[in-house]
Symmetry: C2
Subunit: 220 residues, 2 copies
DNA sequence: GGCCAATGTGAACGGCCGTTCAGGGGGCTT
DNA sequence: AAGCCCCCTGAACGGCCGTTCACATTGGCC
């Protein structure tokens, strides 16, 4: 049983865009995302977004409570997927912290190359969300950071990592932030036209991360 | 010969804030900077800025041509000083690329810890400038990146750096961007309350950078 | 004392903002 | 055929925006 009752014959011959329009809510999300990416949340108006998907401003409020909720929806979906990806990466690769770190950085970098616009919006526009919604996103970011910190601690305790020490101490949280910062902000400058493709970027950043934490050579 | 003609006796007894007000243009700059840092350029109004320094909106235009010029003025001064600092750092430390890299990272990190709010504003609000003004700032950023790329190339050619290779090639520009990204974005999360002070942060990041580029141990 | 340049005031301008809401279909279910 | 729900329209609301301008006010200089 298909959901649609009666398929009109004429429907088959219409242009794709009209034959099966995305659910309006999807069209709105897509249009808003594109505009936020290009011009920034505060200067994109509700009228802009709705005009871009052929509707008028009032229609937005049939699908979202406010412009703020719309932004939150967009960022949340990006951020949630990233968090899930990071968890999967470290879960499916055995116990060696070196392999975990490599898998984590690899997935994180690939994602930020491939979906650099989504990442850019999620990182750049988060500040415009109101307090309760921004807390939600920050929790997810902290969770990702903590995955990395845990890997580092396991590596240190297992004797396979030898991270930089200052005055006899090492600050694993700062190191984790440094690694995340350099991977996250690939999305600010990377373009497919550069010397390195996504795969090569991933390898480069994995190698830099392993060096930064002083990973001992992996026994084959 | 002092600039001010006749010092009134009464002036000595007035409250400091009234006795010697900063040049209004300085007060405006400071107020605008504080508000941009806290709330972001597009949502801070000219009226907000001027009220914060005890004036009305119209007075802004005796000192700046537009709100846009005001932002450009603020970012330019931060960015210009950073560029100058980076040049000085590598100029005054001999010829060894390892020493140059260490000096560069040290200065860059110290600056981004100490003046993290200035750095944050310069990095976050640049996108609101109009095209001609933003080009000016990007030139300065590129110049800083090129200083770093030059150090890396000298190190590779001199055989003291062994940076990561992917498929037999190394992308020095990507490595430079990675190092800059992790140092720049310290300003997004570092606070004086953390485990590491500025000096320790600098040492940590210098060590990570030297490891990332595969610097050979320095002969003492 | 008279002049000038610098600087501040606050009303006014034209325009855009996010959001609301009464009104109007279109198509599915009964 | 009737009712209903979903969705869209577009005017309207109250408010704020960056900028301009005619008009004070000040303080140094001849």
């Amino acid at each position: 049983m298909t959901k649609r009752k009666s398929v009109r014959i004429a429907e088959e011959t219409l242009p794709v865009a009209e034959r099966e329009p995305r659910a309006p809510v999807e069209a709105i999300r897509a249009a808003a995302f594109a505009q936020f990416a290009e011009r920034g949340y505060p200067v994109v108006t509700v009228r802009d977004i709705m005009k871009a998907c052929g509707l008028t401003q009032g229609a937005l409020y049939n699908h979202f409570k406010s412009k703020d909720e719309l932004l939150h929806d967009i960022i949340t979906s990006t951020q949630g997927e990233l968090e899930r990806l990071c968890q999967q990466a470290v879960a499916g690769v055995g116990d060696d912290p070196r392999a975990k770190l490599a898998a984590f950085v690899r997935v994180y970098v690939m994602r930020h190359c491939r979906m650099r616009i989504e990442a850019l919006v999620a990182n750049r526009e988060i500040g415009w969300l109101d307090a309760t919604r921004v807390a939600d996103i920050r929790r997810s970011r902290r969770a990702i950071r903590d995955i990395l910190v845990t890997i580092l601690r396991q590596g240190v305790e297992g004797g396979v990592f030898d991270p930089p020490q200052v005055d006899g101490r090492s600050d694993l949280k700062a190191i984790a932030m440094a690694l995340l910062d350099q991977c996250t902000h690939i999305s600010m400058w990377y373009g497919p036209g550069g010397d390195f493709g996504e795969e090569q970027m991933a390898k480069l950043y994995v190698e830099m991360a392993l060096r930064a934490v002083g990973a001992k050579p992996q026994s084959v």
